[in-house]
């Protein structure tokens, strides 16, 4: 026993009260960490303030008519972003439908014992690699693979079902369809990853109970697992939608940058982000201010969608972890 107490007197022992220098270091370091945390708040505020400040002249000049105007004519100073808002929401919605279905299917595929766990790891790596491919590479791929591939189908659909609004125009190259398809591929990993999380949160007992009642695999998935994971999947969809809204380069390369509102999958369109990407570098002073206003609109839309998604996600986490 005596040995243990000797440790305190031993000169080589590390234990002991902090020295004054150590207290001072501690205070300084904690101050720096505190300042860094505050900086995130300051940065967000600064971003809002800077973009807002640059947009103020345009906001005064165009007011709310900017949101409902349908022309972008810098010479006549007629500037409106309704077609871009439409294009942003429409392309993201199309991408969400496609990417959502596939994303949820993949989440089910990965979590509901379809694969040996080693194979599941390999497949998850494939999906994660999809997320790692840069947007601009998807754009290039879209131009040289997706558009030529879609053309015959698009011509057939337009020729035979041209009366249907979705197929109302010909695909002459870039357009809504290829853009939305590539966008769907890009948000698929996001939707899949967050949905996988949602399925993983379900206690294993729930699945056991379902199987114990004699359900088939899909009865268990459709009647027990999906409803239980529904709020997490909703979060996945909303956050995926948010990702799609802000996606820039692939869309700027694929959507055709045409200032029009059309339901057709094959007509060129534009989005807020690709308007910024394609017009900003060469814009004059007045147009830049208008583009800042457009950036503010984009910021507002994505902010609302992301906060909604995060709120749903938070709700899900509380629902499952609060019961512990």
């Amino acid at each position: 026993m005596a040995k243990f107490f000797q440790a305190a007197d031993n000169a080589s022992s590390v234990s002991g009260p902090p020295r004054p220098v150590e207290y001072a270091n501690d205070r300084i370091f904690r101050g720096v960490a505190w300042a860094s945390a505050c900086m995130i708040i300051a940065l967000t505020a600064y971003i809002l303030w800077e973009i807002g400040r640059e947009a103020v002249p345009a906001m005064h000049q165009h007011g709310l008519a900017f949101l409902t105007g349908t022309t972008w004519n810098v010479g006549k100073s007629e500037l409106g972003v309704l077609p871009e808002i439409w294009g942003t929401l429409y392309s993201s919605l199309l991408a969400l439908i496609l990417g959502g279905i596939f994303g949820i299917a993949i989440a089910i595929f990965l979590t509901q014992d379809f694969l040996h766990h080693r194979l599941a790891t390999i497949f998850r790596t494939i999906v994660e690699m999809l997320a790692a491919i840069p947007s601009v590479v998807f754009g290039l791929w879209g131009i040289y693979v997706v558009i030529p591939m879609l053309k015959p189908t698009a011509e057939w659909l337009h020729g035979h079902l041209g009366w249907f609004p979705l197929f109302g125009t010909e695909l002459s190259g870039p357009g809504m369809g290829p853009a939305a398809l590539v966008l769907a591929i890009m948000i698929l990993p996001t939707v899949a990853a967050i949905s996988v999380d949602a399925f993983r949160r379900i206690p294993y007992k729930v699945k056991e109970a379902a199987y114990g009642m004699g359900t088939t695999r899909w009865e268990a998935i459709l009647k027990v697992m999906l409803p239980t994971a529904s709020s997490g999947i909703l979060a996945a969809l909303v956050l995926g939608f948010g990702r799609a809204l802000g996606e820039t380069m692939a869309l700027a390369m694929l959507i055709g940058n045409a200032n029009q509102i059309s339901l057709s999958l094959f007509s060129p369109a534009n989005t807020l982000a690709s308007l910024l990407a394609s017009n900003f570098p060469e814009a004059g002073h007045i147009e830049k201010q208008a583009l800042m206003y457009a950036a503010l609109v984009l910021l507002a839309i994505t902010f609302v969608v992301n906060v909604a998604g995060l709120a749903v996600q938070q709700y899900t986490i509380r629902k499952f972890e609060g019961k512990k």
Partner: protein, 302 residues
């Protein structure tokens, strides 16, 4: 006695516990399983298609005889043949380095506050929430922001490009580092406090070393993401046909792989389009290297 049926089971049918393969329920389940497999296979088609195109279209130049010219040459103009993507590779690496130098220390410091010092304080709550919001922030807005702050005053530069990338990396680094440090067992920290460590000493000697694999994973993924970004560079770094060779040139417009791909993709010249594919292959390889590094360092040792 007559109304008490001790052998009542006889009246009930014996439950069928065997599995009937051709039951409607089983068929439905099998059909949906087939659809899921189909969805999974379809979803992996794009990745393999992208990889195939990168190797076929970009690989011919990169793995061909003139690979040195491709990797070090200047971008060709118009009808010019040959040329390379050297300045773009250097530019991308330089700007990612600037972004890392800004965002990694700041991000880890902020994460220390959020994850270890005061996880439940109001400032931590707000910061964490805003960091999450910022990860979903359209990357082009980082470009617009830096344009308004830096480019209007000092012009297009590698600095501006680096800052724009840093704005995008910061939230990823913060959230990943916070998560990694939260995984450090409370007992290890308590043991250090028990020896009389200050909180700073606990962080430097226990929390950071233990959480390091997780922190590095987050950092590598943020770096990979930043290397592939293009939207924020469009009007901060712009583009250039020449190398960054001195420190002073960091205040000039700078080339990057992603903007080179964007510029060349729309050109009517086959040479440029081939170089765009080569640049894509190089960019994907860079991103992949950081992703693999993230996985290698990511095995937690706790």
């Amino acid at each position: 006695m007559s109304d008490v049926d001790l052998t009542g089971a006889a009246a009930r049918p014996i439950p069928q516990l065997g599995r009937r393969v051709f039951e409607v329920r089983a068929l439905k389940s099998g059909f949906l399983t087939l659809l899921t497999w189909l969805a999974a296979v379809l979803a992996s088609v794009p990745l393999f298609s992208v990889i195939y195109m990168l190797l076929v279209q970009g690989g011919t130049r990169l793995f061909g005889a003139d690979f040195l010219e491709v990797l070090t040459g200047l971008p060709p103009a118009g009808f010019e043949m040959g040329g390379g993507i050297g300045p773009a590779i250097v530019g991308t690496l330089v700007m990612v380095a600037i972004a890392s130098a800004i965002s990694i220390p700041l991000g880890i410091l902020a994460a220390i506050y959020l994850g270890v010092l005061e996880p439940k304080s109001r400032i931590a709550m707000i910061s964490r929430f805003l960091a999450k919001v910022l990860t979903g922030f359209p990357s082009i807005l980082a470009g617009v922001f830096v344009y308004a702050v830096l480019v209007i005053r000092y012009g297009y530069s590698a600095w501006a490009g680096g800052v724009a990338l840093a704005v995008l990396m910061l939230p990823t680094v913060v959230l990943a580092a916070e998560e990694a440090m939260a995984q450090v067992p409370q007992r290890m920290k308590d043991a250090a406090y028990g020896m009389g460590c200050t909180r700073t000493q606990v962080i430097w000697k226990v929390v950071l070393p233990t959480g390091l694999p997780g922190i590095l994973t987050g950092v590598m993924l943020a770096v990979a993401g930043a290397a592939g970004e293009s939207a924020p560079l469009l009007f901060t770094a712009l583009f250039s046909n020449y190398y960054v060779s001195q420190l002073a040139e960091l205040s000039d417009p700078t080339a990057s792989l992603s903007i080179l791909i964007y510029n060349f993709s729309g050109m009517p010249f086959p040479n440029q389009i081939e170089l765009a594919w080569t640049a894509s292959l190089v960019l994907v390889l860079i991103v992949l290297v950081f992703n693999i590094l993230a996985r290698l360092v990511g095995q937690p040792k706790v």
